[in-house]
Structure formats: structure tokens, C-alpha cells
Symmetry: C2
DNA sequence: ATGAATACTTGCGATTTGTAAGTTAGTTTA
DNA sequence: TAAACTAACTTACAAATCGCAAGTATTCAT
């Protein structure tokens, strides 16, 4: 057999993507109604499946499972031991995932400034 | 007849939204694979239907029409006379739409930093 | 006036979404 | 240690959305 490389070739990347535009590429991964909410929760400290499922938007569990798997696959999230020592899976942002902070913040600021009735959660 | 108010009530807003979170609210409008690409093109100076349709991602024309209508409805975009004087419809960002600049830029920077093979278009 | 562009609209199969139940593994309690 | 309970998914399916391909109406250029 030929030496199979693990890393993705430029040609393979190009084939899966709509364009080389970084915005389009970002949307290929993040462009839906739920994914950035999962990232938001991770930024706010959510770690476990039930944490995401308990958010006020009530993401369906099948979609949550699929989104977590996709974020894992794309290196935005990693599975770690839970902070409380339980054996249930825990999820954390990688450096790539934490780098999405500015995206979520920009969206938050836009919503607060332009969409009536939006507000930050009480965090006393 | 009773005096109907044009503006949306708080109760009506709450009913349509998944939560009062500004991120969730933003995603209700922008959370798909195409909408922010239309905004990107507007930020780059696209004005007419054919401009958006000509972008490298090749948005289907039915989706483009629907997205433009939605952005109009939500005050992100407005219809104006075209800069070149033609009678074809022209679209421009409103202040609310221009305020999405930081969102698109944050996504662009993230893509450039973390997604291999992405690059800005040549603009000589 | 006529042909080419432009700006949509329509139809339809394929994919994705959202709802509601499972099912399996891990944790707590008696 | 064995129920009982909670957490983490999985599955099934109807409904909505997507994306492709044509078609139509309006505007522009000659």
C-alpha cells in the first residue's frame, strides 16, 4: 500500500470548501443556528452534555451530539476529564476554540446594540 | 378599529425568539451558511443581485432572493437607487448592517488564523 | 425593435431540522 | 450491592429547508 498521509492535502481542502474565503470557510463549520451557542456555553464554562442541553434555547439532544462531534473533529473542542472527577465525558475549548471568543463577543455586542429585548444573563 | 401599533411588543419578540441572549437572537437572523456571506459582499461594495450571485461560493438565486428579503425585513439592508443610475434594484447596508462589520471581521481573522488554505481575495 | 442581461420565481428531490421516544452507561441511595 | 436515578447519547420520523435546474418578467444595449 502507498504511504497514506494523515494530514489533509490542499486539494482535498479545496474540494470540501465553497471557496478559500476565511469567512465562507468559517461558516462551513459554524454557519447554523446552534453551533455558536455551544461555543458560547463553552466560553461561559459549560463542560458536560447536560450543561449545554440545559441552556435556555433547548438544543435538541441529537443535534447537540452531532455538533459536539463535529467540533471535536475540527479541533475546536477536546474531550477531557471532568473537573469534578466524574467519568462522564467533559468538553473543553482548544486554543482554536478559544480563538472564537471574538466572534461570539462581536455577535453579542451587535445583538445588544441592535436587537430590542436582548440582554445578558444575570450572573450575580 | 383599535389603534394598532406598528412596533413589535416585548411579548411578541419573546415569542419568536429562542431566548433573550443576544448571541442566540443574532443567530436567529444570521445563523446559516449564506447570510453572512451576503453581508460580507455588501461590506465589500456589492450592490446588485448579480454581484452577490457572482461571488465564488455561488449562492443559489432562490436563497439569495430570500436572504435579501429577510435582511430588508430586519433592517440590515435597504433598497436604494443604484450608484450607476440603472433601474435595477440596489442593496446597501443600513447602520444596523454596517454594525455587523466586526462580526464578519472576527470570523475572517479566525478563519485566516486557524483554517488552512484560506486567504483574502486578490484586490490589486 | 430585438437580443442579451438581470432579477427574480417555481418545482422538486435531497438533506437537515426538530420532536419524542428509546437505550446504555455512570452515579447515588438504601 | 442492588435498585433507582441521572446523564449521555441514539433512533425514528414528520416537517422544514436546501440546492439544483428551469422558467418568466423586466431592464438594458444596440
Amino acid at each position: 500500500m502507498s504511504s497514506a498521509r494523515a494530514r489533509t492535502t490542499a486539494a482535498e481542502l479545496a474540494a470540501e470548501r465553497r471557496s478559500p474565503c476565511p469567512v465562507a470557510c468559517g461558516l462551513d463549520l459554524l454557519g447554523d443556528r446552534w453551533t455558536l451557542l455551544v461555543v458560547r456555553d463553552l466560553l461561559l464554562g459549560a463542560e458536560r452534555f447536560k450543561d449545554f442541553a440545559a441552556s435556555p434555547e433547548r438544543i435538541p439532544t441529537n443535534l447537540l451530539a452531532e455538533r459536539l462531534a463535529r467540533l471535536l473533529k475540527h479541533g475546536v473542542v477536546e474531550q477531557t476529564a471532568a473537573a469534578d472527577g466524574s467519568r462522564h465525558p467533559a468538553y473543553r475549548l482548544t486554543a482554536k476554540g478559544r480563538a472564537l471568543g471574538p466572534v461570539v463577543i462581536a455577535l453579542r455586542e451587535w445583538g445588544l446594540a441592535w436587537e430590542k429585548g436582548t440582554r445578558l444573563p444575570r450572573t450575580p
